[in-house]
């Protein structure tokens, strides 16, 4: 690929985001901005108890209330499928996971606070809400299952009566390595053990979820407008598995999406409900989540309880890693939930280190809580956190420098096949660590520590590495691992007669800046200005089949499809140019939007060729068709492996336990960079979320399954003054070897790399102050830190 197309706003240009003009001037078109003529409104009646037998739902009073069109209950969905799970994990005995039915509206039992019991459709939202309060629900409350380990005790109350237990699966990876790991632990010179919790989080996208179902009775077509990161996936899952609507009769539109962080990947019951009800009532049906409803219905993230052991020999070489994790699934299996603690987590347990044998055990558990699924990083933050924490603890136990211990064990030769089934194509972990030491001025730490001490504050330095597997994913590989979908991406490039391009892609932006970055790629290949390229996405009716946006995949996979489609365009355009200039195809060169005949001064402009394609008066019709439009699908050969090194400095107030982030530096290797400004923004946002997880955010349930942090009054989101000005660098670039752009992905890195840096820094600060503290569970709230200091 051209190394520098910055002059035309191509690859490498820090172009400002064109979509921000509408986002920042109130001209965005979000799902809730869509209102259909004659639409009705739905309000869901939700369970207020975590677990109970649903003895009856009396809708008579509600149905008679003003404006009420119909009240639906679970019985109305008897002929309809359950909300499906898109990934089947096979357990360590070779058996498939336990997979309960997830009904659109509750059948027989309610299983979490927020479970939908009935749905009131009325002429106005207010009428629907009034009537929802009049639905009489008879629930016989059962004990709630909240704690994962208690859920697995023999005789525990079962979330799903038809399953043998609350265990979804017991996964071992790599099962064949289990004995070797045991042996390595036994013969190790030193074993460091750490028990920790990866705290449960709520995504809290700025835009709550919205769904609008519409039905055209004349054509028999259904349309769903929804807040989704992947409209085609919703069309496939809802059409094929829930409602039985073939894809050509179902259109899914996700217009502007205001943040997702994973929580808008999944197919939710409300989407199926609105699509179903629109047809049943022959009118558009709209649902907009209230914020408090989002807290108890959007899939939550993380929620792992882990014990990790790291074995080292007498030369401080890592000899084995063993980890045992309990992963909360919540009450039902959300779309990709089973894959998160397994294939997105276990495969990353090698980290940046040449540990020869690794064994990962994960027990996934059903509880009476909101379903848990992917959240920015999805499995990889959980892997990085435990590994980087245990390495830090080992360094402290052994009295060696944490950076030196890491460097000593770095993988330095690539490609590198890990003992956990993946092969890193490229990387240079010493280079990112060197860069980190430079940009973070780590050698100046002691002086800064002394300055903090003068203010009565304990300063600490936390350093860690991370690696992630992005560009999800090779379809044949994920198929073997249990995915019930392919994970390719597509692009259609349509060149107009006057030379402008429209690129239709199956990936979708929920804040990533695709409308700016993708044109940079395509324009760069042709040598035209990026403003000549427009992106269309988010509508299954006018984009080719695609798998959407998550797992830092859109540029690596979707961008690669665009490259392939554009290559086809260029190949055909060269044929047209050859005809126009009466030269051989093979002699045609394309540079800066001009086709020329090699070795001559003959040339035709891009626009002449595109015009000829659509006005084929002088055109090789016997050889090629008119028009200039090509589609390509790209299925990646491997994951990509972004990696980096992060440093965080904190100041701890020993009197109150309050932790302040004093500085944060990130040195990332994302391979090639298309738009460095967007990459900076992605890293900033990711670190902000990671600091949120490390210091503030926590979804807390009480023993009855009530969400105690069910509003922003109790769920602490990071605010601007909770985060520092970041120092980020992505000049260390080892391009990906297997995609045409050499890109790796940057969307999740910050959220993966930052939590261990923060916790390492706090532990460092406390240990330097003489406290015998080896770990504090996230979030490191003032009260937790104070309690640790004073216990």
């Amino acid at each position: 690929m051209p190394a520098d197309g910055t002059a035309n706003g191509g690859i490498g240009a820090a172009t400002k985001r064109r979509e921000d003009v509408r986002f920042l001037t109130g001209k965005g078109n979000y799902t809730d901005d869509i209102n259909m003529r004659g639409q009705a409104y739905v309000v869901f009646v939700r369970s207020q108890v975590a677990h109970g037998v649903l003895n009856g739902v009396d809708t008579a009073d509600a149905s008679a209330m003003p404006g009420v069109i119909r009240v639906f209950t679970g019985a109305d969905f008897a002929e309809v499928g359950g909300v499906p799970c898109g990934w089947c994990v096979t357990d360590k005995h070779g058996e498939p996971m336990q997979e309960p039915k997830h009904p659109v509206l509750a059948e027989g039992k309610v299983r979490y606070v927020g479970d939908a019991i009935a749905a009131v459709v009325a002429e106005t939202e207010s009428q629907a809400r009034d009537a929802a309060e009049a639905v009489a629900v008879d629930i016989e409350e059962l004990p709630a299952v909240v704690d994962m380990k208690a859920a697995l005790v023999e005789g525990s109350t079962k979330v799903h009566d038809d399953l043998g237990s609350n265990l979804c699966y017991d996964w071992g990876f790599v099962e064949e390595n289990k004995d070797a790991v045991e042996q390595a632990m036994f013969s190790a010179a030193h074993v460091t053990t750490l028990e920790l919790v990866n705290n449960r989080l709520i995504a809290n996208a700025l835009e709550p979820r919205v769904a609008i179902g519409d039905y055209n009775s004349a054509a028999g077509d259904s349309t769903l407008y929804t807040t989704s990161q992947n409209p085609h996936v919703i069309r496939l899952l809802m059409g094929a598995f829930v409602l039985g609507i073939p894809e050509h009769k179902l259109r899914v539109v996700a217009p502007d999406v205001g943040g997702g962080f994973g929580s808008k990947i999944f197919h939710y019951a409300e989407e199926a409900f609105c699509t179903f009800a629109a047809k049943a009532l022959n009118m558009p049906v709209k649902w907009t989540a209230q914020r408090s409803e989002s807290f108890i219905t959007d899939a939550h993230g993380r929620d792992h309880v882990t014990k990790i052991e790291l074995a080292l020999d007498e030369d401080n070489n890592f000899t084995a890693v063993r980890t045992e994790t309990y992963a909360n699934m919540g009450a039902y299996l959300s779309t990709f939930a089973p894959s998160v603690p397994t294939w997105l987590h276990g495969t990353l347990m090698a980290g940046n280190y040449k540990t020869p044998v690794i064994y990962v055990n994960v027990k996934a558990v059903f509880t009476n809580t909101v379903p848990v699924d992917a959240y920015r990083g999805a499995g990889r933050p959980e892997a990085s956190f435990q590994l980087e924490r245990v390495i830090d603890k080992a360094a402290r136990e052994l009295g060696v420098d944490p950076i030196a211990l890491r460097r000593h064990n770095f993988i330095t030769e690539f490609p590198y096949a890990t003992p956990v089934a993946v092969e890193y194509d490229t990387g240079d972990y010493n280079a990112t660590m060197d860069k980190l030491e430079e940009i973070g001025d780590l050698s100046g730490f002691e002086a800064r520590r002394a300055a903090s001490a003068e203010k009565g504050l304990l300063r600490g330095l936390g350093v860690n590495c991370y690696i992630e597997a992005c560009g999800i994913a090779p379809s044949s590989l994920v198929g073997q691992l249990g995915a019930r979908a392919g994970l390719y991406e597509s692009a259609t490039v349509r060149v107009n007669a006057t030379g402008g391009l429209v690129v239709m892609t199956g990936s979708h932006s929920h804040g990533q800046g695709h409308e700016t970055a993708f044109p940079q790629v395509v324009a760069d290949m042709i040598g035209i200005d990026a403003s000549m390229v427009e992106i269309v996405h988010g509508d299954t009716a006018n984009t080719p089949m695609g798998m959407g946006t998550y797992g830092s995949r859109s540029l690596a996979v979707g961008g690669s499809a665009m490259v392939k489609a554009t290559e086809k365009i260029i190949a055909k355009a060269k044929k047209i140019a050859a005809h126009l200039m009466e030269a051989a195809d093979s002699d045609i060169e394309l540079k800066d939007g001009q086709f020329s005949v090699a070795g001559t001064d003959k040339s035709v402009a891009w626009g002449d060729v595109t015009l000829a394609a659509y006005v084929p008066h002088n055109y090789p019709l016997e050889e090629i068709e008119p028009g200039l439009e090509e589609t390509a699908f790209y299925d990646p050969a491997n994951f990509t492996y972004p990696a980096g090194a992060y440093a965080c400095e904190v100041e701890v107030d020993p009197e109150t336990g309050k932790v302040s982030i004093a500085s944060f530096a990130a040195a990332d290797d994302f391979g090639n960079i298309v738009n460095p400004m967007i990459v900076d923004g992605q890293v900033h946002g990711g670190i902000g979320q990671g600091i949120g997880q490390a210091l503030l955010e926590h979804a807390v349930y009480d023993e009855d399954g009530q969400l105690l942090s069910g509003s922003f009054m109790d769920y602490a989101m990071p605010r601007a003054d909770d985060v520092p000005f970041y120092t980020v660098d992505h000049s260390c670039q080892t391009p990906c070897t297997h995609n045409p752009l050499g890109v790796k992905g940057c969307g999740e890195a910050g959220a993966i790399g930052s939590p261990p840096a923060v916790v390492n820094a706090v532990v460092d600060a406390l240990q330097r102050a003489g406290h015998d503290i080896t770990h504090i569970d996230m979030p490191l709230s003032p009260s937790r830190v104070w309690s640790a200091i004073n216990s």
Binding site: S126, R129, D130, E133, S292, E655, T656, G657, K658, L695, L696, H698, V700, L708, S709, F712, M713, D714, Y715, A716, M717, S781, P782, S783, W786, S787, N790
Partner: protein, 261 residues
């Protein structure tokens, strides 16, 4: 939100009349607690009587050695006043700019949220709460969690603050809401020392008598060394234990005394 009528009288007497006539009517100050409550359908008043257009509730003025703050004064207005620096600083630390532009001192005191800041200032400065009926000393005004001495239909007109020789407010934020996990207001006024604590107690704002006695002897943070608050009766929630809150009272009190001195 349930449907309700809204009345916007321009005279306090008219507001009183409307309240008398409409059973279930409720006074609306800045609405920073009431409106979210209505949105969640946790209250269903028949009517709201807004005080926003009543001029006699507005304005901040000094009269002798007192600062008289109209009940409808917003946090923003109090923050900008500066006559009592500690009070203005407290008001400027409530919520965010949007909250401060709407929320009022009268509304906050009448609501008496156990984590609100203003009750600490009123109690910590021995303010007088002036209603349409009477004058109530802050010592008598706060009667428990979300409870005050206000009777049905009684409306706060103004709050009279003695101007202290020294005062400061130190607040430790609850990480999510940024209400006071613990807030301590200390003042020295005509030889009288007060230490009022908000955010911590299950009974709402209270005076820390031991600290007041110690500081009356010696208004210096060192005077508080060795003093502690009994965790019994302190709030326990996901943000802090009773022990943590009791500890923070001591820390915040010392910092407030240091800031006041």
């Amino acid at each position: 939100m349930y449907a309700f009528d809204i009345k916007r009288p321009s005279k306090l007497k008219k507001a009183r009349k409307i309240l008398k006539k409409n059973e279930g009517a409720q006074v609306l100050g800045g609405g920073q607690t009431l409106i979210p409550t209505l949105k969640q359908r946790l209250a269903a008043p028949s009517a709201l009587v807004s005080l926003a257009r009543i001029d006699e509730l507005k304005g901040i003025r000094q009269k002798g050695d007192e600062l008289i703050i109209g009940a409808a004064s917003t946090h923003e207005e109090v923050a900008a006043d500066g006559t009592i620096a500690a009070l203005s600083s407290l008001a400027g630390g409530i919520g965010d700019p949007a909250v401060r532009a709407r929320g009022t001192i009268g509304g906050s005191l009448a609501n008496n949220d156990p984590s609100a800041c203003y009750p600490a200032a009123a109690l910590g400065l021995c303010a007088t709460i002036v209603t349409n009926k009477r004058k109530i000393s802050a010592d008598e005004f706060f009667t428990g969690l979300f409870e005050t001495a206000l009777r049905d239909g009684e409306i706060i007109k103004a709050v009279n603050f003695p101007i202290p020789e020294a005062a400061a407010y130190e607040k430790f934020d609850q990480p999510a809401s940024r209400f006071a996990l613990v807030g301590v207001f200390v003042s020295q006024c005509k030889g009288d020392v007060r230490v009022a604590v908000t955010g911590a107690s299950e009974d709402g704002v209270f005076r820390w008598a031991d600290a007041e006695a110690a500081l009356a002897e010696n208004f210096n943070p060192a005077a508080l060394e060795g003093l502690s608050v009994d965790p019994a009766g302190m709030i326990a929630d996901i943000h802090g234990s009773p022990e943590y809150r009791a500890h923070l009272i001591g820390v915040m009190a010392k910092r407030a005394v240091a800031a006041a001195g």
